[in-house]
């Protein structure tokens, strides 16, 4: 319950955009001008006519927009203090006032210009204002940090039941014949599930993720024996690099499920981690047996990792999936971050 409350509170606080922000200003100008262009074309279908209409309307709108944005930026503290609903009403009244003021001012200064009737101008103003406010509200909801965090939580890699039950079965099979190996396997499983169930919102050193993948592969090699071969190339890996937890393990799990298990003689998974041009690169390659080429693989882990990277690094990270002949390759690129930086 506490979590829900905190999300709502943070959400309410940021529902009005910060009109002093350059991004908010430019978005407002862009959207409003698009409306003006649309209105111009609505009034005159020919490009020449529309251009004239646009000039007339722009004479009203551009000063109005600039006055509005400056006023909203200046009064943002006041707006925040009166609450969201009251702010909406205040903004609407203010915009209508500005529109009327502009209407009379333009008529005084440029009496020969043909102009929109006052009623149309007021309606257009209210419509554009409403559209902008709804847009900013939706945008704030989508990008609110609390909600982004909740989404990261929800996106956390889930335990694949296939792996869980097969591993338990494999460990049970070891208990009579090789009790010590069974103990070791259960310890590995405990570590793996601890991470799977932990709060994974913050970045973790890549060395932790690599250790986790090794434990995962140790469990899988009990089941698969010689069929599972792994080659690591981590000489160039900066051990202090921070990565989203579980960025690699679900991909390795996919590689085992689609690349190794369907092949009678198994195959090799190659994992390469290093720095390229100051960025962290991770590459995972596995064979793609004929059996799994036809089936549509589980795309959940892939979409999941892509979205988590996006939430953490935005455009600075990228994932690429490619199937070439008999191999499947996943490449991840992300900024090289350290705890010190």
């Amino acid at each position: 319950m506490e979590d829900v409350a905190s999300i709502n509170q943070t959400g309410a606080g940021i529902r009005l955009p910060n009109f002093c922000n350059l991004g908010v200003m430019s978005r407002s100008l862009l959207v409003a001008n698009l409306f003006v262009i649309a209105a111009a074309f609505a009034r005159s279908p020919t490009p020449d006519g529309a251009l004239r209409e646009f000039q007339v309307m722009a004479a009203f709108c551009e000063p109005m927009l600039i006055v509005s944005l400056v006023a909203l930026c200046a009064s943002r503290r006041l707006l925040h203090s009166i609450g969201y609903a009251a702010s909406l009403a205040a903004i609407a009244i203010f915009e209508v006032l500005v529109a009327c003021l502009m209407f009379f001012a333009v008529r005084q200064l440029l009496p020969d210009q043909g102009s929109l009737p006052l009623v149309n101008l007021v309606i257009l103003t209210l419509f554009v204002t409403a559209c902008l406010l709804v847009y900013f509200d939706l945008r704030a909801r989508a990008l609110s940090p609390a909600i982004a965090e909740a989404r990261i939580q929800a996106l956390q890699a889930r335990i694949r039941p296939h792996f869980l039950y097969n591993s338990i079965n494999a460990v049970i099979s070891l208990i009579r014949s090789e009790p010590r190996r069974a103990e070791r396997a259960l310890e590995d499983m405990a570590d793996l599930f601890r991470v799977l169930m932990a709060d994974n919102r913050t970045l973790t050193p890549i060395s932790n993720e690599v250790e986790l993948v090794r434990q995962y592969l140790a469990i899988e090699s009990i089941r698969l024996g010689d069929r599972l071969k792994v080659s690591w190339r981590t000489e160039g890996m900066p051990a202090d690099a921070l990565v989203p937890p579980l960025v690699l393990q679900p991909l390795v799990e996919n590689a085992v499920y689609h690349g190794i298990e369907p092949a009678p003689d198994g195959g090799e998974i190659a994992i390469e981690i290093g720095l390229v041009n100051g960025q962290l690169h991770m590459t995972l390659t596995n064979p793609l047996p004929l059996e799994s080429r036809a089936t549509v693989g589980n795309k959940m882990a892939q979409a999941n990792i892509r979205e988590r990277l996006q939430l953490h690094f935005d455009a600075e990270a990228a994932v690429k999936y490619e199937a070439i002949d008999g191999t499947y390759r996943v490449s991840i690129r992300m900024p090289y971050l350290t705890a010190a930086a």
Partner: protein
């Protein structure tokens, strides 16, 4: 392994994972105290299981579903056509599709890790219980077989579906034609058409042709009611197209 009489059921374990096989063996040894049995052999995939069933008399097959080479579902469908068929008990760790299909079609299965009591109950059920029907297995399968099986003198011969040129219904059987030879299978053309709709096309009331085996069409007014005949790759055979299936010609030209 166990002191069992000559009539003790002979069991085959099929699973691609060594620990899963050894776990089942341990459990079966435990079962043998109350349910006399003999573990005859182990197979690592469906194809190996079929080879063993061909070679030795097997009464019960414990069959994992997800295996490389040939999965348990397809192996079961070939085994179920034997006369008499061994009893089949499926095992799976997790396969939501298969489990749902088994429930719907009343097919017995065991969930891994398998409990001794559940295994004993399943073994007991094989005594006198009716074997799993071919229809139930076909209904539970979610993908077409990769082989058809020909049963001759209690042995299963596999014919890869990819090598089949055409299937032609005779009186009671369907003739399966490959480049090398012909086989007879005891299946209905309608169910084969349904199962292999992606790779075969009907050209006549009694004939399905592999799309990949069609090299072209020829005018043939004498033997064919539509005036067209299919030319089959790798042979000099020409199969008449019926008037009802005439649209096929347009589809390929």
């Amino acid at each position: 392994m166990s002191v069992a009489g000559a009539d003790a059921p002979k069991i085959l374990i099929a699973d691609d994972e060594a620990p899963a096989r050894s776990r089942l063996r341990d459990l079966l040894v435990d079962c043998a105290e109350t349910f006399p049995l003999v573990v005859v052999d182990e197979a690592r995939n469906g194809r190996e299981a079929l080879a063993i069933v061909n070679r030795e008399k097997i009464d019960i097959v414990l069959l994992d579903i997800r295996m490389p080479e040939m999965d348990g579902m397809e192996a079961a469908r070939h085994i179920a056509m034997m006369d008499p068929p061994p009893a089949i008990i499926f095992t799976t760790a997790f396969d939501s599709y298969a489990i749902k299909a088994f429930e719907v079609n009343a097919i017995d299965y065991l969930l891994k890790p398998i409990r001794l009591e559940r295994l004993l109950a399943a073994l007991n059920k094989t005594r006198g219980g009716a074997p799993v029907s071919r229809q139930a297995l076909a209904a539970a399968a979610n993908q077409p077989r990769r082989h058809l099986s020909v049963h001759e003198r209690g042995k299963i011969h596999l014919v890869p579906v990819a090598e089949i040129l055409y299937l032609r219904a005779e009186l009671k059987y369907v003739t399966v034609r490959t480049v090398e030879r012909e086989f007879l299978v005891e299946e209905s053309l309608t169910s084969l058409e349904e199962e292999f709709a992606a790779s075969f096309v009907r050209i006549h009331r009694n004939c399905l042709v592999a799309r990949a085996a069609i090299s072209g069409f020829e005018r043939n007014a004498e033997e064919s009611e539509s005036g067209w005949a299919v030319v089959i790759k790798g042979t000099d055979e020409k199969l008449p197209v019926s008037r009802r299936q005439q649209a096929v010609v347009k589809q390929f030209r």
